[in-house]
């Protein structure tokens, strides 16, 4: 296992980090303050998790005035999109198969 893959696995092993990443994937950019509002842990705690995610190259952070804003790496967004389209097709096929099955079995 490469060092980076290993780092990603460790980043994801923690439920808070998974949730931070998920929030950034579905909510595009969020400041540390906005992210903190989703959790019962301190802002410092969130920053620590963010650092872990940044080291794993899953999240990026930029200074905007006095706030730091975070976003998920573009690659992650692409992956979600692909994933949705796979499941989209999967359920289309499944529901069509269900309809065919019902119509055939009632003949």
């Amino acid at each position: 296992m490469s060092q980076k893959t290993d780092q990603i696995f460790r980043a994801l092993a923690d439920p808070t980090r998974r949730e931070i990443f998920r929030l950034l994937v579905i909510g595009s950019t969020l400041s540390i303050t906005q992210l903190s509002a989703h959790f019962d842990i301190s802002r410092q705690g969130i920053s620590k998790h963010l650092k872990f995610l940044m080291d794993a190259e899953m999240v990026k952070m930029e200074k905007k005035g006095r706030e730091s804003i975070c976003y998920a790496e573009a690659k992650s967004l692409q992956i979600v999109k692909e994933w949705l389209s796979y499941y989209d097709k999967y359920w289309d096929n499944s529901l069509n198969a269900l309809e065919d099955y019902l119509n055939l079995s009632s003949q």
Binding site: Y90, N96, L102
Partner: protein, 141 residues
């Protein structure tokens, strides 16, 4: 078929010209689900742990637990074994409409997969599903 995709939720709505009882049976009876989807031990009982496994073992195994099974609402967790413990939720709701049945299927939590895919599972995962799509049609022939 109508499709709505909001964030990580896929919603499908489909009207089928069949009585509601028959459609309900087709999505809850394991012998029937095994025919139009993939072989399964499914039981429409809350707490029942099911699996889905195609006979060729080409697809990723799916497991999950039934959360709700009251006619005509069926809810279960959907865990793709290739993605470890990522839990998504599948919900079916049937309604009698225009002399047939409107079926609403919702799959919630798919973006959670992004983390696992990011972790380098993309290829085996998606190629597994591609084969599964093909299998679904073939089972009927």
């Amino acid at each position: 078929m109508n499709t709505t995709t909001v964030n990580d939720v896929i919603s499908k709505s489909k009207w089928i010209k069949q009585p509601i009882n028959k459609v309900w049976k087709a999505i809850t009876d394991n012998e029937q689900v095994s025919q139009w989807l993939v072989p399964t031990n499914f039981k429409a009982e809350v707490g029942f742990e099911y699996f889905l496994q195609d006979p060729k073992k080409e697809c990723n195994v799916v497991t999950g637990k039934v959360l709700e099974a009251d006619p005509y609402t069926l809810v279960y967790t959907w865990i793709n074994e290739a993605a470890n413990t990522v839990e998504t939720i599948v919900r079916w709701e049937l309604k009698e409409e225009n002399g047939g049945t409107t079926l609403e299927m919702t799959h919630i939590g798919i973006s959670k997969y992004s983390t696992d895919l990011q972790a380098g599972m993309t290829e085996s995962y998606t190629s597994g599903w591609k084969r599964c799509f093909e299998n679904i049609g073939n089972l009927l022939n």
